[in-house]
């Protein structure tokens, strides 16, 4: 019997997959919308739209643009993170909100890479716009 049990043990050891560690970003969905309605006398702060498009299947095949004149040309997630972080508290308010505008075909990894860049710059008000085809594929 012990032989059979050992065989079973080896079998389950082999089929059990030890996948790499996963992590998660907590994104407040309802809170962001409520916060924008909180005080009717507050001047509305225009959110910055960050457009992200994929032009290939590779991890580095993406393009990021924004509709803000305060942020220059962006070549990578790092550029987005660096530029927004350097203007945080100055040209950009600490609670500046961003909308990530992705096309239907934008790869999820590129959306999340953009999200991470804004989180690295310590911006918390980040929303995901519905898929839009405006501005390219």
């Amino acid at each position: 019997m012990i032989d059979v049990v050992f065989l079973l043990l080896i079998y389950f050891l082999l089929i059990t997959e030890f996948s790499p560690r996963e992590e998660a970003y907590a994104v407040a969905i309802a809170e962001q919308q409520a916060a924008q309605r909180a005080d009717p006398f507050d001047l509305p702060m225009r959110p910055i739209r960050v457009r992200v498009r994929s032009f290939g299947d590779g991890a580095g095949e993406y393009a990021i643009t924004t509709d803000s004149p305060l942020i220059g040309a962006l070549s990578s997630y790092e550029a987005l993170s660096d530029q927004t972080a350097s203007r945080r508290g100055g040209a950009l308010a600490g609670d500046q909100s961003f909308i990530i505008d992705s096309s239907p075909s934008t790869r999820w990894e590129h959306v999340m890479g953009t999200f991470n860049a804004l989180k690295r710059a310590e911006f918390d008000k980040i929303r995901f716009a519905p898929p839009s085809s405006a501005g390219g594929s």
């Binding site: 998660a24 992705s102 989180k119």
Partner: protein, 149 residues
Amino acid sequence: MKTVRSLEPAHVSANLTPMIDVVFLLVIFFMLVAQISRTQIADLDPPEIASAVSAFIGDETRLVVNVVPGDSKAGAYRLGALKFDATERGASDLSSALVRAYARSPGVQVHVRADRSESYARVHPALDAVRAAGIETVRLVIRPMDAPL
């Protein structure tokens, strides 16, 4: 009177019972782990992010919405063993299932897992379904690039 001592060694046998118990426990553990992994987490490859500022997923109870890789609309979203289509009706059913599951265990974390190559058009309805279920915070699963196994 002389006593004759036997020079033969005493008969010693190892007690295998504790070892068998432990081995059985290990078998049960691996059976359960294999089963739980299959029901909660679909086989997909989350986005790999460099310098991620995400949070470690602990042992908290969670509901995992998996966006099943592929182009098929049938069974595009999975919540545990439940499957939902990538249609308006499917998204609505997913939202209702989340409401029921959330009512059973309020405050449970809701995770959305999607493959790195997934299109945004396929992921966004899952986020919308979570929002429609009245859940305030959703957790988006990634894999940190420098994470150990």
